[in-house]
């Protein structure tokens, strides 16, 4: 997990720096025409970031862009070095093409036309391979310009036409218009006015299609001028009028005035004086309104020529005087206005530079804000991931704990039931042994003694009594053995079970001693489902049995009363008789009473007895309802 997070951080930081370098490059290339110094500053910063990150293509791009800006500043040698360095390290063909193009432009400006052509052709080759039509056209146009400088107008036209085809294929109207103008100028310089006219007209058509009023006005004027040089005055006037219309549409009063002056001049030259007057007045009006001194001067000169052609020498002289006075006066005005114009131009440029600098700062701040936001979101994302990881680990641990707990409980239950099963098995084995061996042997003894009594015909009474006593003792042993086995095989004894066993015993005793009245009373509040352990149940039963036997054997009682009642936490068992009783102080306690006491202690109970001569005996056994077995 640590490795994954490190990779994410690394990717994040590299992407950040690359992004920043790219933004600086883009910003610089947007402002370099208007604020080259700021652009140089931004590009140097981008270059420094790229060098820190050791990203080769970013370094190459920054160097080449720096070369382009330096070329624009006229530092051709330095620009050439930078683009050549970019070319040496770049692995990106687009950067290479741009570097070749810049080398071509630098060489052209340095007068190294052959080297310029070689570099341009390299750039063109890459752009063709990459199928970048717009760039292809630009480079081809540049090649045409080099040929034009070399005076090779044919080749120049060929390249311009190639660029034209590419722009046409790409439907790049602005590019096409520029190429047409370039072609028209080459033709015009070559004296081929027809071709020049065709391309100027094409340029005009495109400007109209682009709906660019300024472009339309300029192109219409160019077409009009070609017609004028061709001697086609009417056509020239038509285009001049269209140009006026276009200038009117964009509200350029200087342009309107200048064009009216041109029309007036053409009409005067061709002796169409009647028509010329209106254009003359309009030209003068608009040029005065626009305060365009050069055009006012032209208008005054036109007036002078007009009156000269009309054979009105006085007026012609007056206007010529006005023209010369105005010309002299505007020398100062021109100077002053030039100074003012330069001042305005300087201030405007200064303000523009400030605005651009502010834009660059804003862009940089925006970049910083984006960077901060990304860090914040990245941190939040990371925190979320860590939180999620923690939660999942916690959840997994919780599940494991739950499973272990459940498994533990089941294992405990299994161990318990296994022990219980084994214990029961052992008990069963022991009881079976007792039952099959000792029980059988004891019954065999009884049977043997009975046979012996029967067989000993000459035995004395004492011997027979002794044999009977042994037989009785053995029977008692069998009963006890039977009870032990019963208790051993029973996990628990219900009160109902115990009551039935006691009732059975009392019934048997009642049958054996018919002159004794037995009463067995059980409190109704005792729950029949109350359970004792087999040991407790057996001991209670034994104590009652012993007490009843004692009453029958020694007390000569006529009534025996057995009662079981309950207190909050205890059972109270009372066995009483109305026999002869005994004196506790004078009588030595026999095994029977001691055994009863011992049994009571074994089940956490207590036993009391009350007896006196001729008042009967009362034995009270107190047993806790939930006795803890004595260890």
């Amino acid at each position: 997990m640590k490795k994954v997070l490190s990779v994410v951080f690394l990717v994040t930081s590299i992407a950040f720096s690359q992004n920043r370098s790219e933004k600086l490059n883009d910003s610089a290339m947007v402002i370099y025409k208007s604020n080259p110094q700021k652009a140089v500053e931004l590009l140097e910063k981008a270059l420094s970031i790229s060098e820190e990150n050791e990203t080769i293509n970013a370094i190459a791009k920054s160097k080449n862009n720096l070369g382009i800006v330096k070329r624009d500043l006229g530092l051709f040698t330095e620009a050439k070095t930078l683009s050549q360095e970019a070319l040496n390290i770049s692995e990106d063909s687009i950067i290479n093409a741009s570097a070749y193009n810049n080398l071509g432009a630098c060489n052209r400006n340095l007068g190294l036309y052959e080297e310029a052509l070689t570099a341009y052709l390299m750039a063109l080759k890459i752009y063709e391979a990459k199928n970048m039509s717009s760039e292809q056209a630009t480079v081809t146009n540049n090649i045409g310009t080099v040929y034009s400088y070399l005076g090779m107008n044919k080749q120049a036209i060929e390249n311009h036409l190639k660029a034209k085809d590419i722009f046409e294929n790409a439907d790049n109207k602005k590019g096409m218009s520029e190429v047409y103008n370039s072609i028209a100028i080459v033709y015009a310089n070559d004296g081929d006015l027809n071709n020049a006219l065709t391309y100027f007209k094409e340029s005009l058509r495109l400007e109209e299609a682009l709906n660019s009023p300024k472009g339309i006005a300029e192109s219409t004027n160019n077409v009009g001028a070609v017609f004028y040089y061709m001697g086609e005055i009417d056509s020239a006037l038509v285009y001049f009028n269209q140009s006026v219309k276009a200038e009117r549409a964009i509200g350029n009063q200087t342009g309107i005035g200048a064009t009216y002056n041109n029309i007036a001049s053409v009409l005067i030259e061709n002796d169409r004086l009647k028509e010329a007057k209106a254009y003359l007045d309009s030209g003068y009006y608009y040029t005065k309104k626009a305060k365009s001194v050069a055009d006012i001067e032209t208008a005054l000169h036109n007036y002078s020529q007009y009156y000269e052609a009309k054979k009105q020498p006085q007026k012609a002289l007056d206007y010529y005087k006005s023209f010369t006075v105005f010309k002299d006066s505007i020398l100062n005005i021109a100077t002053n206005s030039k100074v003012a114009e330069l001042e305005i131009q300087y201030q405007t440029e200064k303000k523009e530079n400030q605005i651009l600098a502010q834009h660059a700062q804003l862009a940089e701040k925006e970049l910083q804000v984006k960077q901060k936001n990304t860090i914040i979101y990245g941190s939040l994302g990371l925190a979320f991931l860590l939180g999620m990881l923690g939660y999942l680990l916690y959840n997994q641990q919780k599940l494991k704990n739950r499973q272990l707990k459940k498994e533990g409980e089941l294992k405990t239950a299994l161990a318990k039931i296994e022990t219980q099963n084994r214990l029961q098995e052992q008990r069963l084995r022991i009881s079976r042994d007792l039952h099959d061996n000792i029980g059988a042997q004891l019954t065999f003894i009884i049977s043997s003694i009975d046979n012996l009594k029967f067989g000993l015909k000459n035995a004395t009474l004492k011997t027979k009594e002794k044999l009977s006593s042994i037989s009785e003792f053995t029977s008692q042993t069998i009963y006890e053995l039977r009870d032990t086995i019963w208790a051993m095989n029973k996990e628990a004894i219900t009160f109902e079970d115990l009551q039935a066993r006691i009732t059975n015993f009392i019934n048997q005793a009642s049958e054996a001693s018919q002159d004794v009245e037995f009463t067995f009373y059980v409190s109704e509040t005792i729950s029949a489902q109350h359970t004792f352990t087999s040991v407790v149940g057996m001991n209670i039963y034994r104590i009652i049995q012993e007490a009843v036997n004692n009453a029958l054997k020694y007390a000569d009682a006529t009534a025996i009363y057995v009662e079981i009642s309950e207190d909050i936490d205890t059972f109270l068992i009372e066995v009483s008789d109305d026999g002869k009783g005994f004196n506790i102080a004078e009588t030595e306690l026999g095994n029977g009473l001691n055994n009863m006491k011992k049994r009571a202690r074994e089940i956490n109970g207590s036993m009391e007895y009350h007896a006196a001569a001729d008042t009967g005996t009362q034995i009270i056994l107190t047993v806790p309802k939930n006795p803890e077995r004595k260890e």
């Binding site: 994040t12 991931l385 999942l392 498994e407 039931i417 009884i446 000459n458």
Partner: protein, 81 residues
């Protein structure tokens, strides 16, 4: 470009983590279910054994099956007293 890389990396990590834990938890639950079933089967076997044994013990009568059968006359005893 960068935020996209970050978002994709974030989503990939998140989904990967969730899938990994989901898979591990399911595997653990399946193993646990196997263990639990095995223990439960063992418990059931013991319970059945105890129940069967108890039912036999409850129906057993000491007097009927032991004492009466043992009380028979032993004719081989011959005393000359």
């Amino acid at each position: 470009m960068f935020p996209v890389v970050l978002i994709v990396a974030f989503l990939l990590l998140l989904v990967g983590m969730l899938l990994l834990f989901c898979f591990r938890n399911r595997t653990s639950q399946k193993l646990q279910a196997l263990k639990v079933n095995r223990i439960k089967k063992q418990i059931a076997i013991h319970q059945k054994q105890i129940k069967v044994r108890n039912s036999y013990l409850n129906t057993y009568d000491f007097l009927e099956y032991n004492l009466n059968d043992s009380l028979f006359t032993q004719k081989n005893i011959n005393l000359n007293l």
